[in-house]
Symmetry: C2
Subunit: 683 residues, 2 copies
């Protein structure tokens, strides 16, 4: 159906954009004219295959269109060549090659759209819009002309302008150093990597269509690196390693001490972590089968000390109040500034920091978990040696850190250990017999189930990890072995051989008779009380600034947050009350935030602006700290300043006790307390 001008009608799905075009217009050109989101790297040369579309067969009466696959031109040489090389799926056409001959309805599949979305596994997490700061453009550059002596770089820029409408401002020195060789090697056809639409930062001869980036989480204990395809957003490989700085000090503060005490140690610690990161990048690149020079971007997250050392900055000031950062701003540096063995045109991006103890990792977690988009009052907390606490919603966002110490990680606990195979991670105590049952990492069996002996023989029961300690003490409390003050009740030794005297006036509770013996003693309970009081106090101080409003959502970030059962965390009073179905574990939210910053350019500005707006609270100088802290030592916390938990279902006191399970829990924590009160007969 050509109209009087000889034009034909084309409709693009799913956008529904439509228009009339001269017979012979390519589908890609038509899509561009209509502003349809149809990708292309090669600029319509049947090389990249990014502009694949499907021409619909059928009638569209509302549009008055009869669409037929035959209404576009047949497959010609260039498309056939592509199809042979790359196996074009049946029904798919290259938009740049198929020309419109009659009315058509064209479907643009998601994979052919420039702005793809990466849907994340967790339902509540936002999808990542793939829109990296770097884009590849294939261009044909004019050959040098003695009568128009523009430099090679200038003719490259002109080609980018003519063929891609890019107003490129500069070609980086690292590209200039090989622009002449590359243009000639590619016979004047090259793939240019353009950063921010203004800077040419890398160049390959001929057609080059895949670029990669790494998102690196620099933890004080472990380093994690994710290699991503910058076009699809897909994680192609991941690798982790211990942070080699451990030889300069086990924890953060001992590394800061090293920086203060030992001349030259800052440079050594920087070199060590950079080298390890290079190792991880090389490892992921190898396992993905790509060259490290194709790694063209990198993002980094971590706590302030780690970020200082990564940047080669002395972290000494972070060792004592007022914990002054060298800079809290995001940093965009050169690959060479960090000695990174990736493409020299890469401009690694270090996310901004929030305060002396609230780092780029927290900024990244915010980017991942978006409390600033939430209507609900949200707590985002990453519990480690320090807990980084963010509270707020789209109107206000507050952040603080609280020095929880290493107890939650199994340190400073007599039988404590890191979360590794053989560590007790789940604990239940029968309130009548005081007999425990538990699970160890590496097995799905409870310790009272058949076959556990084999597990114990094989894996060993080697200690108890953070999540196990939380459950153990919470269950001890629910069973009446520990009272609200955190005292292990010696009287219970009469009821059970599990409760044993281990000091003049102190008792312990034995979970496992060994070897080795795994027990919770009075000092262990105290250590956990101190840690959880620090955490709870931090959260409460932020909530106090918001008028003691009740939390409506809790996101537990980090490894510890993923392992603990939120219910037990509430029983013990680590975190304030919140409907359990509104509590979720975000896993490595910091790492995810690093990936978001890698894949989406806007997110960098978003987090930079947000971090400036965040209200930073130093908990230690808050007048109420001491009082809150003392209250928070109790199990559960004595005061309940958040009484309006509308969503909490209070079970009748006589209701049957549902076995506690992290899944599908609809009861709130107050009902659990009800259980506790009934069991221990208190109140």
């Amino acid at each position: 159906m050509t109209d009087s001008n000889g034009d034909v009608f084309a409709v693009f799905l799913p956008s529904g954009r439509r228009g009339r075009f001269a017979v012979g217009t390519s589908l890609l050109a038509a899509a561009r004219q209509l502003g349809v989101d149809l990708d292309s790297v090669c600029g319509g040369r049947a090389i990249c295959g990014r502009c694949q579309v499907a021409v619909c067969e059928g009638s569209y009466p509302k549009l008055g269109v009869e669409s037929r696959a035959a209404h576009v031109s047949g497959v010609e040489e260039a498309e056939q060549r592509y199809s042979k090389l790359r196996d074009l799926a049946a029904g798919r056409r290259l938009g740049c090659s198929a020309r419109i001959l009659g009315d058509v309805v064209v479907d643009v599949p998601a994979s052919s759209q420039v702005h793809k979305q990466m849907v994340r596994k967790r339902a509540e997490a936002r999808a990542i819009d793939i829109d990296p700061i770097l884009k590849l453009h294939y261009v044909e550059v004019a050959e040098p002309d003695i009568d128009h002596p523009a430099g090679d770089a200038q003719r490259l820029m002109a080609a980018l302008h003519e063929q891609w409408s890019l107003a490129v401002e500069r070609v980086e020195l690292c590209v200039l150093s090989h622009v002449q060789r590359t243009l000639r090697a590619g016979e004047w056809k090259v793939s240019a990597l353009v950063r921010n639409e203004t800077d040419v930062v890398a160049l390959w001869p001929g057609f080059h269509d895949r670029i990669f980036g790494v998102a690196v989480d620099v933890g004080s204990t472990t380093l994690a690196c994710h290699l991503c395809d910058l076009e699809s957003g897909e994680v192609l490989a991941a690798a982790g390693a211990m942070n080699p700085q451990i030889r300069f000090g086990e924890d953060l503060m001992s590394r800061v001490s090293t920086a203060i005490m030992t001349e030259g140690s800052v440079a050594e610690m920087s070199a060590a972590v950079r080298q390890a990161i290079n190792g991880l990048i090389a490892e992921t690149a190898e396992s993905a089968g790509i060259a490290v020079t194709d790694v063209v971007d990198a993002t980094f997250v971590g706590n302030p000390v780690m970020m200082h050392l990564l940047l080669g900055l002395d972290p000494s000031e972070l060792g004592f109040a007022p914990f002054a950062l060298a800079s809290d701003a995001a940093q965009t540096v050169r690959a060479s500034d960090l000695d990174l063995a990736i493409n020299p045109g890469a401009r690694p991006y270090i996310l901004p920091m929030i305060a002396g103890h609230v780092g780029a990792d927290t900024a990244a977690a915010i980017l991942s978990e978006t409390p600033h988009h939430a209507g609900e009052l949200t707590l985002l907390v990453d519990i480690g040696t320090n807990a980084e606490i963010v509270v707020g919603n789209r109107y206000r966002l507050l952040a603080a850190s609280s020095p929880t110490g290493p107890a939650f990680e199994g340190a400073q606990v007599s039988s404590g250990q890191r979360a590794s195979p053989g560590a007790i991670e789940r604990v239940r105590i029968d309130a009548d017999t005081l007999e425990p049952r538990f699970k160890v990492i590496g097995s799905e069996l409870w310790s009272n189930e058949p076959g556990f002996e084999e597990v114990a023989a094989h894996l060993g029961v080697t200690g108890i990890c953070g999540s196990g300690i939380i459950e153990a003490i919470a269950e001890m409390y629910l069973a009446g072995i520990v009272d609200a003050d955190g005292l292990i009740d010696g009287a219970q030794a009469q009821r059970s051989r599990r409760v044993v005297r281990d000091g003049e006036a102190t008792f312990a509770y034995r979970l496992w008779n060994g070897p080795p013996v795994v027990a919770i003693n009075q000092r262990d309970v105290r250590a956990i009380q101190l840690a959880k009081a620090a955490l709870y106090t931090g959260i409460r101080l932020l909530l106090a600034r918001l008028g003691d409003r009740a939390l409506e959502r809790i996101v537990l970030a980090g490894a510890f947050g993923s392992h603990i059962d939120p219910q037990y965390a509430m029983i013990l009073g680590l975190i304030p009350d919140c409907p359990l179905d509104k509590v979720s574990a975000a896993g490595n939210a910091a790492g995810t935030g690093a990936r978001i910053a890698l894949l989406n350019r806007q997110s960098r500005r978003e987090i930079e602006e947000l971090v400036r707006r965040i209200e930073k609270v130093e908990t230690a100088t808050e007048p109420a700290f001491q009082a809150y802290f003392v209250e928070a030592m109790a199990i559960p916390h004595k005061s309940d300043p958040f009484p309006n938990l509308a969503n909490v279902v209070k079970l009748p006191a006589s209701a049957p006790i549902t076995p506690i399970s992290a899944q599908n829990v609809t009861v709130g924590v107050q009902s659990v307390w009800g259980r506790q009160r009934r069991k221990s007969g208190g109140d």
Copy 2:
């Protein structure tokens, strides 16, 4: 005379800006309010002494003001301290300390103005406005506050905003690496070096008020470095050295050959020149008594091959047509990119290039000699192995290069040598006797004057340099020894023993009987003819594009241009006719342009925009080249396409021959030709 509001009247000279101020306002504050150009680095803390003013004594009836020195407050502690340390001149007050008590007229001396001008020695050269891209600012930074955990860099930026109204965007990593140490060493008072009003690139504890830059001319033979005070513009020290790349090839093209032939030679040549430049910078810094870390900026000029090698770029493509540059744009790089041992925050600036053989040196010469500001049609030419030719005025500017070869530098000439002591540089030949007289470099005596024998014994007469060859051949022509075709007339051997046979049918003219013999032979004349024909042809091709208009001004840049006598250059036909009083030598115009780019930020944009607009002409591909070249071989050039020399005074044929002197010459070249014609009896 306070008005009803208690305000008093202040007038600032020379601007004449005036206003009413509350009693007690400092003169600096008043000047700022009025937009008076009054300098300050310390921000009104009586430290820098940049805001010195003089309060006038006297009546200003037109203003209705009785100005008295006593109308400002007396010298108090801070000003007294400054005066003791730095010796404040009598009558001078610190504008920041002197407060207005009554009506005053205040004189702001040139040295206290921010925008100073550097007047250049040559009357026709434009003054340099001192306005470097870098500015020092003394600030007092807030100490870190645990409750407002802004980074040190952010508090520095805030101080720059509050105290200097600067919207700084970033603190460079090289500053971040010591920002914490420096702030504390300066007890929160620091001097920040701000680039382009946006980037903090260097930082010193306390008050630091002097910064320096180097302007470097990278010649293929010699390197020259000028160390400048960025505040006054003054050249504090200069140093030169041979370009160590000479061991990779004497001239440009042999270095390009090395680059093409020898693996790794580009990196070696880059390293060699960078090391030599570092040596010159260190030498100038030492002789000025400053630290190299106080060298915070650098500009570089040179031909395209030199600029490529400086930047570490392979110059191979410049070895053959079409002579493609890697980039013709100006480059702003990091000090570390060039391995420069100066302040790491420095951002060396390489001026833009014009074409494959017309480099940053020509761009710099344009900046110095401003043909683009001229109403007159101007030729700017730098004659070396290549001549870089710029022709035009404020409406159009054309550029080309012409391969003159090394003859003008004394190479390819039998008795030729570089311009060094003992070389003949001035030649006169008596048209009747054909006896020569000459001067050698290192002596003011003519060879026929008493005492010259001692000179000859002491210095030797070692050869003839470029300017001497020009004069010798021109005088040989004027004396009839050489004809218009450049043939040495063997018949003259009968008139003088100076003309000797030196081949089957060729003759030579002996200037000096040695040892060593210094003579001009037929091959020498041919070499000079070829060189001057190439030069003249290049100029004429550009003029042809402008409709064969006559030149109205000629600027001879470079060492050769400074040494040759323009009159002889015209006699020989190196350059077209032009009134002699409109011909000037600019000396090292490229070096001056490098200094302008160093001292004035606007000049960088000016030359970048101008270079884009310049019409680049490749002489070799011009159809008229061959015909013009043949014509230009004649002495003087046969055709005279520029007949309209309005200013040329034609001497009557009978007028006495004035002894030729480069000074105070008012006659034009056509009159000189008149002399030639009479002498040789031709035409």
